[in-house]
C-alpha cells in the first residue's frame, strides 16, 4: 500500500520555493483551461498575463524590497489611491502638462511617501505593521479629502504608458519588463540588494558587519514607495483617471502574491522573479473566479484561504 505523503513531504518533493511558484502556476493554468473555455480566449489571455499583472506586479515589487529588508507595508493600497487621485486632479488643472513631467512628479511623490514611512519605521522605531497601518489610514484620508470620487481627465499622451505599443509590443509590458529586470539586478547584483537581504535576514549580524540597519530599512521603503508610484502611474494611465478607491485590495494582494512567490515575511529570503510568479498566480486565480462567475463574497473568502495556505507552506518548509 502506498503511503499518502504528508504536506511536508509534498513540499519537499516540489523542491525549493522558487520552483514551487512555477509549479503552482502551471497547475493553475491547466485547471483554468479545463474549467473554463473562456480562459483560452486571446483577449482573456492578454488581460490575464499582460494587463492585470502590471499594476499588482509593480506594487508587489515594492512590497518585495520592503519585506525582504524585514518590514511590511500595509499602506500600498491607499498610496495608490492617493497618487492616482493626485495625478488625475493635477491633469484636470494643467491638461497640457507634459506626461514625462507627470511621471517625474509621481515618482517624487512616491519617494516622499516611502521616505515618510521609512522615517517612522527606522527613526521613530514604530513597528512596520503599526506604522504602515496608521499611514494607510492617513493616506486614505488624504485621498478622500482630495478627491471625493473618481476623477477622469487623464490625457491621451499620458495614457500611452498603458495603452500604447512600440513595434507591436504593449508599452506597459516594455516598461514593466524593464522595471522587473532592474529590480532583479539591484537585488542580486547591487550592494543595496545585498544590504536589504542581510538586514532582513539578521539585523544584529548586519550591524556587527558595519551595515547601517536603519538606513537600509529607510531606503527599502523609499525604493518601495517609488515602485508604488509606478503602479499608480500605470493604473492612472490605464483607467484614464484616478480616485480614492483605485488602490483597494492592493495591500493584501501584494503581500499574498509575494508570499506565494517565496518571499519570507520574516525577511531576508526571496527574490524578484518568484514574487512575479506569485503575481501571475493571483492574476490567473482572480480571472478564473470571474470566469466561473463565483459569488464575490466567496471570492473574498477564497482569497483568505490562499493567504493562509501560502504562509503555511513556507513555514512548513522552514521547519522541514
Amino acid at each position: 500500500m502506498t503511503k499518502i505523503p504528508t504536506l511536508k513531504e509534498m513540499v519537499y518533493a516540489a523542491g525549493k520555493p522558487e520552483r514551487l511558484v512555477w509549479i503552482i502556476l502551471s497547475i493553475l493554468i491547466v485547471v483554468s483551461l479545463v474549467a473554463s473555455p473562456l480562459f483560452s480566449g486571446l483577449d482573456n489571455l492578454r488581460n490575464v498575463f499582460l494587463i492585470q499583472p502590471v499594476g499588482l506586479g509593480l506594487a508587489a515589487l515594492g512590497q518585495t524590497f520592503i519585506v525582504l529588508a524585514g518590514g511590511i507595508d500595509l499602506s500600498v493600497g491607499s498610496v495608490i489611491s492617493l497618487l492616482t487621485s493626485l495625478a488625475a486632479g493635477i491633469f484636470q488643472k494643467y491638461p497640457l502638462m507634459h506626461p514625462l513631467l507627470m511621471v517625474a512628479i509621481m515618482l517624487g511623490l512616491g519617494a516622499a511617501i516611502g521616505a515618510v514611512n521609512g522615517i517612522i519605521v527606522a527613526r521613530l522605531r514604530v513597528t512596520p505593521f503599526m506604522a504602515t497601518l496608521a499611514m494607510m489610514l492617513i493616506y486614505q484620508g488624504l485621498a478622500l479629502f482630495y478627491a471625493k470620487r473618481t476623477i477622469g481627465g487623464i490625457p491621451r499622451s499620458f495614457r500611452f504608458i498603458a495603452e500604447g505599443s512600440v513595434l507591436g509590443v504593449p508599452m506597459s509590458i516594455v516598461l514593466f519588463g524593464f522595471i522587473i529586470a532592474l529590480c532583479h539586478i539591484v537585488l542580486v547584483r547591487h550592494r543595496f540588494g545585498a544590504k536589504v537581504l542581510a538586514v532582513g535576514s539578521d539585523p544584529n549580524v548586519s550591524a556587527l558587519s558595519g551595515i547601517d540597519v536603519g538606513r537600509t530599512r529607510f531606503l527599502s521603503y523609499l525604493f518601495g514607495g517609488m515602485l508604488f508610484s509606478c503602479a499608480a502611474i500605470f493604473l492612472a494611465a490605464r483607467m484614464g483617471g484616478g480616485g480614492p478607491k483605485v488602490g483597494v485590495g492592493y495591500d493584501l494582494d501584494s503581500i499574498t502574491a509575494i508570499v506565494i512567490g517565496g518571499v519570507s515575511l520574516s525577511g531576508g529570503t526571496g527574490n524578484v522573479l518568484g514574487a512575479f510568479g506569485g503575481v501571475l498566480i493571483i492574476s490567473v486565480f482572480y480571472n478564473l473566479m470571474n470566469l466561473l462567475s463565483l459569488n464575490s463574497f466567496l471570492q473574498i473568502l477564497l482569497k483568505g484561504l490562499i493567504l493562509i495556505v501560502a504562509v503555511a507552506f513556507t513555514s512548513c518548509k522552514k521547519q522541514g
Binding site: 547584483r189 550592494r191 545585498a194 537581504l197 535576514s201 549580524v205
Partner: protein
Amino acid sequence: MSKDVAEGNVLELTGITKRFPGVLALDTVDMVFRKGEVHALVGENGAGKSTLMKILSGVYQADSGTILFSGGSVVFRNPSQAQDAGIAIIFQEFSLIRTFTVAENVFLNREPSGLAGFKDMRTARKETGNLLREIGFDLDPDARIEDLTVVQQQVVEIVKALSITATVLIMDEPSAALTDKELKNLFGIIRVLKARGVTIIYISHMLQEIFEIADRATVMKDGETIGTKNICETTKEELIRMMVGREIKDFFPASVRTRKEELLSVSGLRKGRKLDGVDFSLHAGEILGIAGMAGSGQTDLAKALFGVEAADSGEIKVLGKTLNIKSVRQAIGAGIGYISEDRKNYGILGPMAVRVNITVADLGRFLRGGVLSGKKEREEANKKIGELGIKVAGMNQRADTLSGGNQQKMLIARWLLKKPRIFIIVEPTRGIDVGAKTEIYRIMRALVESGSGILMVSSDLPEVIGISDRILVMRSGRIEGIIDQSGGLTTEERIMSLAVGHDYSFSEGIPS
C-alpha cells in the same frame, strides 16, 4: 597629541571605563598587547571581557580612557571603522547571515564593487577561495551558511576576519563549538597568523586551551584587570585564584552518599535511532551523571523521560508505579522537573519579573477565590530568593538582566515550588561563571540530601566527575557503562574510553 604605542606593542589601553545603566562594566581598565603575541583574556562571565572587546571593535564606545593603536589614539564609532583600521573580531555568537553564501558573508558590506555600486562577486569568490586554501580548509565559497556544520561556519568567521588583513584579531570564545581535532586546526591557524605578526586576543573559559596556545594571559574580574601573567610562569590554579579569589579544592561539595529508595526505574527505553534500549534506575539522595560524546542519546533520554519527545517503547516506573509518559504535563504530574540547557528559550521569561518567573509554574496555589493573591505570591518568591541566595535588586527585576548563575537558581526555585522528587538538569552550569557554579553544585547537593534524585546530563567531564555519585556513560543510544564513584572519583579517560568504545588517549584525537 601625537602619542604612539611603545616599541614592540600594537595596542595600549589606558583607563577604559564603560558604564551601562546600573552597572559599571569596565572600571579604568589598562592593558597592553604586543605585536605578534597570543594574548588570552580570562575571567568569569560578566568580568567585562566581551564588553572590552566590543569597545575595541567599535560596537560600543568607551565612556572614558584612551586606545593607542599603532600610529596614535583612536576611537571607533562603528565596526567598519575598526575593520578599516585593522582590528577584526570573531564574535562569540556567530556573525554570519545564514541565507548568504560563504563569499557573500566574507565580504558582507565590503563587497568589491565596480560601476555604480554593482558587486563584483567573481573577485569576492576568488579571494575567499584563496583565503580558504591559505588556511588549508576545503570549502566551497558558494556554499550557503545554513548548509554548513558549526565548524565550517567557524572557519567562515575566521576567513572573514582574515580578509580584513587585520593586525589585531580578537577571538571571543572561538572554541565553544569545536571538537578536539577541530580545535587543533584552529590552533594551527592561530600559529600561522602569529608568525605573520598578527596579534591575537583569545577569550576562553577553557584554561587548558589557554595554556596550549597563549603567550600571556590577562585576568579580569568585575570590570577590572587583576593582572597579566606569562603563561610559562603561571599555573591554572594561580589563574583561577586570580579569577575567583578562592582555591579550586572546595569547588565541588562532598557527597554524603546516602542512597535511599528507588525513585525512577527505566528499562528497555527506545526512541527511533536515538535510544536503543536504555535501562537504569535513579535513587533518592543521589546525583546520577549522564556522560557521552555529543549526540549519543543523553538529551534524547532526558527529553523522553520528561515527555518532550516521548519514547517509542520501554517501561518507565516512578516510585514503583509504571507510567506511560507521553506529554510534559504527565511528567510534571508524576513529580519530574526539568531544567533545559537553553535557559534563554526554554527557561526564563526574559522580560518578566523574577517573582513571576519563580511562581509561574504553580500559580494555582496563589489563588484566593479564583484571583491571584499578590501577597502570598510575593512571600513565596521572597522566601525562595532567600533560600537559594539569588542575587537580585528586587523581586521585580527583569529576569533577563540576571547573570546566568542567578537565572539558573531562579529556575531551580520555580521547580522547588512544585516539589518534584526527580530533577532532570541538562548542562546545569553552561555559561555560568566559576563562582556561581559552586553555588549551583551546592544547591544540587542540598536537593538530593533532602530526598530528591537528580539526573544530570553534562558534557563537562570535570563537572560530571566532581558532582555525580554514579555516572552513566552513553554510546549510540545505549548505556555503555555505569561508574559508581562511592569508592573514589573516576578519571576522564575512563569515561572517554566508554564513550567512544575503545581505549582512548587524548593524543589520538576523537574519532569522528
